[in-house]
Symmetry: C4
């Protein structure tokens, strides 16, 4: 795969991933959305099918990694680091593009994020649509959560390729997407499961600059945890895989 194909694939794929992922958070959170308050199951399947959409689309160009934790995990396992930078660059650009697209899809909803003229209800804080916020703020515990959840993502992905018949059947991405649904359902409770540094950092940058009324804080004090945690988790998964398989 050429550097150009990898870059374009990761940009498009990660943009689609974030469009679906930030999109479902907007859908469930914003007051004037048909899916408002539709619950955690909607969040988890929305992110999972974002992986499905993004990774299948990117697959022919770049393999569809869409996540630095996955890219690092593969590099630790294979020892091939030469293309890592182009993957990460594409993922970062794509994540920011996806956040902007989500803003455009929910433009009228964001513009209406003002105190409710009838009930006086407060506008919704909007950072949770773009980036993760811990339920209990505890750096060590939050970091542990992100590390373990990322190992639970990357170790299975590394192992899938070994399963007889799976690599050639084209259903691997489907299974990865359901794995992501499962991580959301099971391990997303404490921190909102970044498990992907650019999924959190790119949209946080975009959130900082978007002209959303009453958007609330971009919470840069927490921003390092959903970057460091998944990077450590991805590398750890590569090491475990190398040792065990």
């Amino acid at each position: 795969m050429s550097n150009g194909d990898i870059f374009v694939g990761e940009v498009i794929g990660t943009a689609i991933l974030i469009l679906f992922g930030a999109g479902v958070c907007a859908a469930v959170t914003l007051r004037h959305s048909k899916a408002r308050a539709s619950g955690w199951v909607v969040i988890a399947f929305g992110w999972g099918f974002g992986v499905l959409a993004g990774a299948y689309t990117a697959a022919p160009l770049s393999g569809g990694q869409l996540n630095p934790a996955v890219t690092i995990g593969i590099a630790v396992d294979t020892g091939k680091w030469g293309k890592v930078w182009i993957y990460l660059l594409g993922q970062f650009v794509g994540a920011m593009l996806g956040a902007v697209l989500t803003y455009l899809v929910y433009l009228a909803q964001f513009q209406a994020n003002v105190p409710d003229p009838e009930s006086g209800e407060e506008p919704t804080p909007t950072l949770g649509i773009f980036s993760t916020i811990p339920e209990i703020r505890n750096p060590v515990a939050n970091l542990v959560t992100e590390i373990i959840a990322t190992v639970a993502l990357v170790l299975p992905i590394l192992a899938f390729g070994l399963t007889k018949g799976l690599g050639e059947s084209g259903v691997t991405v489907l299974i990865v997407s359901l794995l992501v649904v499962g991580i959301g359902l099971s391990l997303g409770g404490p921190t909102g499961y970044a498990i992907n540094p650019t999924r959190d950092l790119g949209p946080r940058i975009v959130h900082t600059f978007l002209p959303i009324p009453h958007k609330g804080t971009s919470d840069w004090g927490y921003a390092w945890i959903p970057v460091v945690g998944p990077l450590v988790g991805g590398a750890l998964a590569g090491l475990i895989y190398n040792a065990a398989f």
Copy 2:
């Protein structure tokens, strides 16, 4: 594929798609339905599995496109426009047939759509069962939502065929149906995700003529947006695919 097979396939497939899609909206909306008020997750999976049912059924006859945005996207990509008219004709007839079938399945429920004799509760407006209604009425924003959501449908569909092993394994339609679930969950909040011109226009025509008590407006002022938006989105997806892949 002969024109006859294409027409019959698209009629049957689109009718099944709309039967499931309008059906799930009836199921969740109407007062005397066992699934009333069962939430957005039911809506999104109902439409997605309607794609599964309709597209697998139509596949042997017409390939199961069921959506002018998909047909246009393929035509823009391949430059082959000769069969487009027969696809669109079949989709349009099928969408109207599906809307009538939904009316028949929920006949007793529609007939009971009168003020509740006990509580005096108002009857349900019924257009939302057949066609889309924006949550906030804003033509530019609504159009942008439909265009981006349709690109998020058609671009992955165009790319799926390139994935190693996917084209031959028969699971492509399954993946497309889960993609549609994801679009519903993530991008359906603002406009109810038409992402298919005949899915909206055909049932709207049927709604205009059906003898449903207290059926409410057919809202023809909005009708052009869920037609133009998906057509633009489908063509745009074809252009992006041509440029990037």
Copy 3:
């Protein structure tokens, strides 16, 4: 396939189908169940994955039809009626066996189906766990609902075999099970979607004889509709398939 294998396969497979299907209705309905009041999405996926469990198990022995409407639809299409009786016999025995197994799984819950000692809350009517009950009692409308819903089940099943690569990939049953989830979500609102004569009749017989306290009526006046409707729908699907494909 020998008659013995067909009979054993259909008994086991239909018993598993009903165990899951009646089971999920018990899970959502009964007061002392962990899944009580968990909603329509649980019902629809429970029945769908019952098809998955039952049909995959029966597949090596009998092909896993588990439904007279499917058996009749195939017979109308192929003109081969010689084995139909053994399929139907196995399905009927299996459906009754599955209903008894569900009773055993929820034995303590059924025994506790008495007025709540604390709140005085009334016990739950139990027929809805075993058989279908229309939301609005209207024989013509109920029959139309069951016929159309059964066509929407059997016509896709007949067509699936034609899809390139699907017949050999082993995922057909998975897709049929998701189709059944979709029918439940979209078309189950008016009558509770029997779409299978033995699924309704067998458990209704068992309900008539089980020693459940406060079990309520077995509603034999309605029992012919979920038998006749699916049989007509299955035959109709066979005719449409013959004409169109």
Copy 4:
């Protein structure tokens, strides 16, 4: 497969299974979780996708059995008992490891399991996150529930391998995971569906020793039922399979 590979595979796979399964129970139960009170559908899909994650990961090393009931069922069917001890040992160690990992993921939530400082609300009993608790305590009925539910798990698993094309397509584990979702939805109401002795016993041991505030009882009086029931069910499934297939 070497004993070492089997042991490592079952440890890793079962740890992942329990991490997802206990994790989703923590997610839905604990007060400071984003998924709190998100319902039975989340529980059932969380456990099912835990099977998906764990079994695919373990598959290349040990085949991914992860459950003594499955291991016993296969041994009864094939008559090969030589490797059973190493499977069971790995599953037991893995289940305890998974429970500890879940504790770490939800560390801040467990530490905050104290009377709510604002409302005075009582802390949550935590055993249900780790092990099963019957809704109605009735040893015979609880045992029958676990036996039948385990047969409904193991008999289909034994039969799946016979389905044409399924064994080689790599989707078997996906189907098993949806089967487990179905068992949860349909048969989990009375006892919380252990259907796996180590899934219940390992985490119960861990729960006994973990320093969780207000953790409540580990309920050792019930502990034998989710061990004996699944073992009997697994053996029974092996016998039925031998007789019928």
